[in-house]
Symmetry: none
Subunit: 206 residues, 4 copies
DNA sequence: TATGAATGAGAATTCATTCAT
DNA sequence: CATGAATGAATTCTCATTCAT
């Protein structure tokens, strides 16, 4: 089971739902194709299992990092860094989460929906606490959520493939070497701190 | 040609690159499958043509909205609202862009990479101008770019499919009606203004 | 063992040899798939066991109904009614027998062939006795056998599924309500008596 | 199209619906497997097309043989011989028809149901005419239909596979050489005349 | 005696692509 | 410029069978 989920996670993350083939997944997992069907069910069920595994783990991890005693700003920072860290250690997360949201629930089992709500609920609680304490000003928590996720998800992705795309951006490099260099530094830099700083600034009272 | 691109855009947006079938696209476009090959080339070329059409149009539109005379904060607001408006009128944009970035350049022709850089370049120019004028503080422009795009893209997607997902979130509604109601209001609300406000706040000097 | 045979009979009758899956049979029997292999052997052996069970029982039943003292016409009537009664009580018989004959002996073990010959031999004996006594005229016993079996088997099948097919024959009903009504009465009527009458008439001397 | 239907007819007749593989059919038809899907649709549609072709042809043929001027007994004989002749020239008919009826309409397209009703309607008309003219006595036409079809269908099948089954009946041969010889003669004999004679006798008035 | 797990072989179906017309 | 037909190569999924426990 573990091997199946891990293999599938890798392949789904690399190629998306329709891009991934069950053959490929079986090979990556080191099991027979039929074994996947025996234990998990069809491709869609497998996809759901992967999402639940990946996102559920993220929820657990981030929850464990935040402690009640922290000041609320720190909680928010921890939340962002927690997601960023998971992303760092666990590259498949962003594409998988992006698809989960983006697929709009098609192929999205209830467990996964719950996971997504849970992880959002954590942020909501932090923002409400901050607002009550007068530390944060009223904001749309969903927008904050989307900005954090969007930034981390996109970034990780671009970073991961920057090198492979060297040719793609060759035109740019020839055209405007300065811009190219700047872009490269941004892409390769540590984005988590930037996100923390910007989000904190944007929600803080005053 | 127009019909082919439009049909393909619809199908690619709905199903992604590997999820879309040339048959489906031909049907959506109302042309024979072979005609697509005659005019555009293979599936990858078709995908490139769609991306170029969609993203290129966005670049042009946003560029036309920003005038040199505007104060830099307004330029930034216009930029964000321009992208939001394109998204509003042109639903396929976010999934297409998300997949373009997410696929990490696989199936991504050079033209499209250029488009993506162009649209980022516009933001970069605005942020640099703001910094020079002392209106903005130094930030990682790429992070800003990602936050804007991420928020708008994710949001549009969730909004578009919220109603279809009603069942999925039924558990949540039963569990915590308050949270559910809040979430619904956030999802359905006008997100562009929130993004503008938060981004401006997060980049402004002081 | 009993449970296996019963489950398998049900499934084979419903789907035929290749249409039935061992998984389905195991589920219908309420035993583990491997248990079937342990007790019976492979699918073909299982099929043989089912046929032997079903047809062997029919042979025994019909044989027990016919007594030496009966006049030969009554023997023939008893034979036909015996088969009809078995069919009535034991719906899987006709499809199983039809498939057994129809498959042309593929998957047909020797035991079952013997059963089929035995049941035919009983008819043969009756017809020969009738001929000797001058009650029946010379006929091709095999044709008589086929007519009896064919009529009972087909009928049972059509009757069993008439209601499910209502839609299929809707066109006919709209077209020619009279014919439809007649057909329905024929299908639902007691066919055994009709077969007895017609067969007796067709074989009787003069 | 012709080649596909012919190949499929051969294979379905030999192995039944689930026993037949689309690969095998494609090979028998001498076309690529995908071509079958392009022209006909899935396996079930293919099966329906075969049934319609086979049974529809039978209807047409038998109808063309019967002329209005014939006395009604001859009409009945012609009807039976017409079906027998079709069976003779067109071996796949019986198993295919048996399955059509036996499947109870599952997988049975409306066209085919119509065909079956048509061929039965012809017999019905003959029997009613005979009854009106006082030549036939009242009988259940459906039973007559089933006896004719059953006898011809089973017979053709047993005959076709008698030789292949030689081993199966070896036990019988050793046991009762006389019975075996008789059986063989019956099986190999011309059954159509026997059926005509018996059916005519069983329905005739007096 | 019974079973959960595993698997190689094959089955149905789809798909991107080509080509003659 | 357009299209119906054709196809090789995958792709998803099933199945009969085995085996360690």
């Amino acid at each position: 089971m573990r091997r199946i989920i891990d293999g599938a996670t890798k392949v789904f993350a690399a190629s998306g739902f329709s891009g991934a083939s069950v053959d490929e997944i079986a090979a990556a997992a080191g099991v027979n194709k039929a074994t996947i069907y025996y234990h998990v069910g069809d491709k869609e069920a497998l996809y759901g299992a992967v999402l639940h595994d990946v996102i559920g783990n993220t929820v657990a991890r981030v929850a464990s990092l935040i402690s009640e005693e922290q000041p609320v700003e720190e909680k928010l920072a921890t939340y962002i860094r927690g997601i960023a860290a998971t992303v760092e250690e666990y590259p498949p997360l962003p594409p998988v989460m992006m698809r989960a949201v983006e697929s709009g629930g098609k192929n999205l089992p209830a467990e996964v929906a719950t996971d997504l709500v849970l992880i959002f609920g954590m942020l909501l609680a932090i923002l409400e606490e901050g607002e009550e304490k007068g530390v944060f000003e009223p904001v749309n928590p969903f927008v904050v959520y989307l900005m954090i996720l969007g930034a981390l998800a996109f970034h990780r992705n671009v970073e991961a493939t920057w090198d492979e795309q060297r040719e793609l951006f060759a035109t740019l490099r020839d055209l405007d070497a300065g811009l190219y260099g700047k872009l490269e530094r941004m892409v390769k830099g540590n984005v988590a701190d930037d996100v923390v700083r910007m989000v904190l600034k944007s929600v803080s009272a005053r």
